[in-house]
């Protein structure tokens, strides 16, 4: 299967977007080569502005640009967008409900060798707490591009989370349709539901295949929009399968697992087991090895599912 990092998809999607939106402006904070806004910069140098290593100001500049009616994307690593610039995003973008799209790359543990300071496992939690913020975590190239294009047409603040590591492109480019706030059932199943987001969706699909061979029929749901979350697809899964395992490349506090628990607790209480980063910092190492170490891989999903089912 073809593999591509969603940050690459992001950069390419910005170029696609610029072709139809001449009001588009892209900002970066000295990471254009890494966030891949460099692809846009090369194609549209007059509409790209480097803010230097000053993320707080960049978010404020983005807000000011948005007040003039332009579509603006502001990019840096997830750590410095959601982390360092949190309060600027809350007060200067979220509160006035400005049409700023935050393209945050290098999210999660798969940043790899740079280690804990750059591995942001808290961004989904932080961004979800901001009223009116839409939070999106695409799973592959197809979904990432579709999400960027869809969110450009959506009026309001949005956080888009992209990864550094090349991810399998499992969604069909020709038939895939992105709908904000809509989960996608990728595989039917009645024994248990695996709800995954971002890089973990393809791992969940692999796990489901292994489980199927062992006689366990797991449903797989892709939640690309963490907020607002698709309540219906989760409640239906809770009712029909009775157990849920969530998988995310993010802290188990405040991310997909927590959002799923909120829905399930309120509407259809069933056991939920969360796979994610368990309230610890990451560390340096090759991305794939780290993902395995932190249990963010198909093998661990298989074992957690079996344990949850008492098998």
């Amino acid at each position: 299967m073809e593999k591509k990092a969603t940050r690459e998809s992001y950069g390419e999607a910005l170029v696609m977007l610029a072709e139809k939106r001449n009001d588009l402006v892209v900002l970066d904070a000295d990471l254009a080569a890494a966030t891949k806004t460099g692809i846009f910069k090369k194609a549209y140098p007059d509409r790209f502005f480097d803010c230097g290593i000053a993320e707080a100001n960049m978010m404020g500049v983005a807000a000011g640009i948005a007040t003039t009616g332009r579509l603006v994307f502001a990019s840096t690593f997830a750590m410095f967008a959601a982390g360092r610039a949190y309060e600027i995003i809350r007060n200067s973008i979220g509160y006035p409900r400005l049409n700023v799209k935050i393209g945050a790359t290098h999210a999660g543990i798969s940043v790899g060798e740079d280690g804990a300071t750059h591995q942001c496992n808290e961004d989904i939690a932080l961004m979800c707490t901001i009223p009116g913020m839409t939070v999106i975590n695409p799973a592959d190239d197809t979904e990432a591009k579709a999400a960027v294009l869809a969110m450009a047409d959506y009026e309001g603040p949005c956080y888009l989370r992209f990864g550094r590591l090349a991810a399998p492109v499992f969604n069909d480019k020709d038939t895939y349709k992105f709908e904000v706030g809509k989960g996608i059932e990728l595989k039917n199943g009645d024994d248990i539901t695996i709800v995954a987001t971002g890089l973990m969706v393809s791992e969940a699909l692999s796990a489901a295949k292994v489980l199927e061979a062992q006689g366990i029929n797991a449903r797989v749901i892709n939640i690309h929009t963490i907020k607002p979350i698709d309540r219906n697809i989760i409640i239906k899964a809770a009712k029909e399968t009775g157990r849920i395992v969530t998988v995310e490349e993010h802290s188990v506090i405040g991310g997909l697992g927590s959002a799923v628990c909120d829905v399930v607790c309120e509407s259809c209480p069933v056991p939920v087991v969360k796979i994610g980063v368990n309230d610890v910092y990451g560390h340096s190492g090759p991305a794939v090895k780290l993902l395995e170490e932190f249990g963010l891989c198909a093998d661990n999903i298989v074992s957690v599912v079996k344990k949850t089912l008492g098998k």
């Binding site: 100001n57 404020g60 000011g64 007040t67 003039t68 332009r70």
Partner: protein, 280 residues
């Protein structure tokens, strides 16, 4: 400045000060000191300088003003009310439940407010974004950013200062309201930002120093600012916190406190007497 216009400015600024006291008194909280220190400048900008239309507050070509020192919202609200953006009576609802006049300004909620501010250091960045967007479109509007002298202790201000100079935002005019006081005391004692002009110069800005309470000087300063090309301009205005109300002047305890009824009456009678003298 023409003598008639100057007299009009002084009259309007006094009415603006009365609106500030009215608002803060009715709110039983708020920030009168820094509102009074910036009242003359905001009056001058909205009544003699800026291209704004109370009937069309979001007009794309309007000049914009970002009150980066957002806690002095009572001054901005009073200027906007006096300028006809909303009724003067609304000032009495400041900080009340259901009022559009929140403790700090909110974009699109209050006619004439161009950006939500309140968390210090952020407004200047938004002003940079507005100025950059104007340059990109070839629009000729100006963007004014009003900062407190304590506010420039925020690191984000200097990120923005670097940005504005780098992108040669000569359509951006910042004002630093140098009243010398912040919540914990004199700025020179709390965390000195001096020398303010040298710092901005070093960041690539054109700097102008001015007496904040002299309309002739303000006009001269803003005239000079408009002649500058290729770099942003900062006007550092020496002001008196609490200006216009004798017992509030240069007194840090009026940074964020409302007058009681007796103090309210005294403040209003002082301002009324000043107004009467100006209209004679």
């Amino acid at each position: 400045m023409d003598a008639t216009l100057k007299n009009q400015m002084e009259i309007t600024a006094t009415k603006v000060r009365m609106g500030i006291i009215e608002g803060v008194y009715n709110a039983k909280s708020g920030h009168p000191g820094g509102s009074l220190s910036v009242a003359d400048t905001l009056t001058y900008l909205y009544f003699a300088r800026m291209n704004v239309d109370p009937e069309n507050p979001l007009s794309p070509n309007r000049d914009r003003l970002v009150l980066s020192k957002g806690h002095t919202a009572p001054a901005l609200y009073s200027v906007l009310a006096n300028r006809g953006f909303f009724p003067f009576e609304d000032l009495k609802t400041l900080r009340h439940i259901g009022s559009k006049l929140q403790g700090h300004p909110v974009y699109k909620k209050v006619p004439g407010v161009d950006m939500s501010t309140g968390s210090l250091g952020q407004g200047i960045s938004a002003a940079c974004g507005m100025a950059l967007s104007g340059k990109l479109s070839g629009d000729c509007y100006k963007v004014y950013a009003i900062l407190g002298d304590g506010e420039i202790q925020e690191g984000q201000v200097w990120e923005a200062a670097m940005f504005a100079a780098h992108y040669q935002l000569d359509n951006l005019i910042a004002v630093v309201d140098n009243n010398g006081l912040q919540i914990d005391g004199r700025i020179k004692d709390v965390m000195s930002p001096y020398p303010i002009d040298e710092k901005f110069k070093a960041f690539g800005w054109h700097t102008i120093s001015v007496d904040a309470h002299d309309f002739d000087a303000l006009e001269k300063a803003f005239n000079e600012a408009e002649t500058v090309s290729g770099q942003p301009v900062v006007i550092i205005q020496k002001s008196i916190k609490g200006k216009g109300v004798s017992f509030m002047e240069d007194n840090v305890s009026w940074h964020g406190a409302a007058p009681n009824e007796e103090q309210y009456n005294q403040a209003m009678s002082e301002l009324a007497a000043h107004l009467e003298a100006l209209t004679k």
